[in-house]
């Protein structure tokens, strides 16, 4: 466990000494504000709630989270530090967990920095605190799942761009299989109903929508956590059998 903390500390230190982190935060905050107020039609709704804010996260994170996760292992491979890390007395699960948690903490910080939007809404009206809490929880869990997936693609390659594109596509698929326009299309093409149910169950979109609306369902939380755990497990296996 101490090793996990040491790795988290190193990763966070490296993150915050590089300008990339600040660029990321600025882009993230700008985009989330832009989507909420400009595209989400916050002012048109005439309602003081945050659903137009949370609504965009599955899409926004598709681009932003892989940008954080793509470096994780690809960079270690490229620099040759993977050889250093894995010949130190660190187990693979510790290393995977440490890196993942560091990235997740960073994304958590990014989410916390969106609080001005919440304050704005509170100032304009009196929103229901329930959906805000579940919405943020959902966003954080969603970020973790995407991060674990992009860490996984990062473990496969030493090329960050390849890692970024693969994880973006994977995350996009996970959203789309439950996205109503897509499922409706499938229905029209005559896909049997049970496959649609299944794909909805597997979809990030379906589980996130519930949390975004303020529904607290343990199954959603279990879904996100098991998706994350699965991706982390695959990451560990890939690293264990690496051939570099």
């Amino acid at each position: 466990m101490r090793n996990v903390l040491t790795i988290i500390r190193r990763e966070l230190g490296a993150t915050f000494t590089s300008p990339v982190a600040y660029v990321f935060l600025v882009i993230f905050l700008a985009l989330s504000g832009f989507f909420t107020f400009m595209i989400g039609g916050f002012f048109l709704r005439n309602e003081a709630d945050l659903s137009s804010f949370f609504f965009w996260f599955p899409w926004l994170f598709i681009l932003l989270v892989p940008a954080v996760g793509m470096r994780q292992w690809a960079e270690e491979r490229r620099q040759g530090t993977l050889e250093l890390l894995f010949t130190m007395p660190v187990s693979i699960p510790e290393a995977v967990l440490g890196k993942f948690l560091a990235g997740w903490i960073f994304l958590g910080i990014a989410l916390v920095l969106t609080c001005p939007i919440v304050f704005t809404v509170c100032y304009l009206g009196s929103p229901d605190p329930g959906p805000i809490a579940t919405g943020y929880t959902g966003c954080f869990l969603l970020a973790g799942a995407y991060l674990a997936i992009s860490g996984m693609t990062s473990a496969f390659t030493r090329n960050q761009i390849v890692s970024f594109i693969t994880s973006t596509v994977l995350c996009l698929l996970l959203v789309l299989i439950g996205f109503p326009p897509v499922t409706n299309l499938l229905l029209k093409w005559g896909a049997p109903a049970w496959t649609l149910d299944l794909s909805a169950d597997l979809s990030v979109f379906y589980h996130f929508t519930g949390m975004q609306r303020g529904v607290f369902d343990l199954r959603d939380i279990v879904y996100f956590l098991s998706l994350t755990a699965f991706a982390l497990f695959v990451t560990g296996s890939v690293l264990k059998n690496r051939r570099a």
Binding site: R2, N3, T6, I7, R9, R10, G13, A14, T17, S18, Q79, G80, T81, L82, E83, L84, F86, T87, M88, P89, V90, S91, K240, N241, R243
Partner: protein, 321 residues
Amino acid sequence: MIEASNVRKNFGARTVVGGVSFSVGKGEVLGFLGPNGAGKSTTMRMITGFLPLSAGKITIGGYDIEENPVEAKQLFGYLPENAPAYQDMTVAGFLDFSASIRRLSGKKKADAIARAVKLCHLENVLQQTIDTLSKGYRHRVGFAQAILHDPPVLILDEPTDGLDPNQKHEMRELIREMSRTKAIIVSTHILEEVEAICTRVIIIDRGKLVFNGTPRELQEKAPYGHRLRLTVCASDDAPVRAMLEKLPQVRKAELLGKQEKTVSLAVYPAGSEKDFVSAVKKALDEHKWEFCELYLEHGRLDEVFRSLTTSDAVEGKEGAA
């Protein structure tokens, strides 16, 4: 401390290391030699648990590197080829991280870092980020990281690569000094280094062990063994050579070069080297030949190396497949 038995590594269908066995004990410095692509770094990566073995077994201090990797890894320090390090960290930050992951903390950690910094002369670059260091300094940072926790086993892949002559000398002194209490493996392409620091040498060629012995034994395998270098003040080499070759102790006298008033010869002993040098010298004195140079040359390691290893890149591929 280190036991490797019948270690193999295949990359796909290609065998890169094919059944290598050796052991290194405390107080020994094992030199790893071999041409480029012979499999030295690959072997070291298996010893340090970075690459899985295709077959065979490696233990460090009794711990199997594949079954108890964390325990085994606590026992060694490793300088990988090209000394990789986190480029965006400062030297101080990197050493602090390395120490923490080796479970050093508080005063122990500070002392360990201070010691390694002093031994590797890193005082002046502590706050510099690693990507701004020169190659030699990067290498020293890698070495500092390897000796930080004063491990009983050191595995160093080309430790003097990129160091200036002073640093090379110092690195060798350091390795020799530490070898009294540690088991050390070094790979190198510098053959003098082998004579200077190694107590034992193994040569790998295309993944096969072709020599395992002391540096002295290696020298004795030289095609000519020892020979005498001689520069005589004479305008012609023929009479000198004829005279020397008559001696029972001399097998052959060979002309190396002719200058204006001197000739350079190489004289090879016949059988034992006993009183070979004195016999040659006596014969020269008797015939009143003045010589301005006379010294015994030991078996040349590079000749042995060449005769033991024949692979080049192309052959290596075919031979290993």
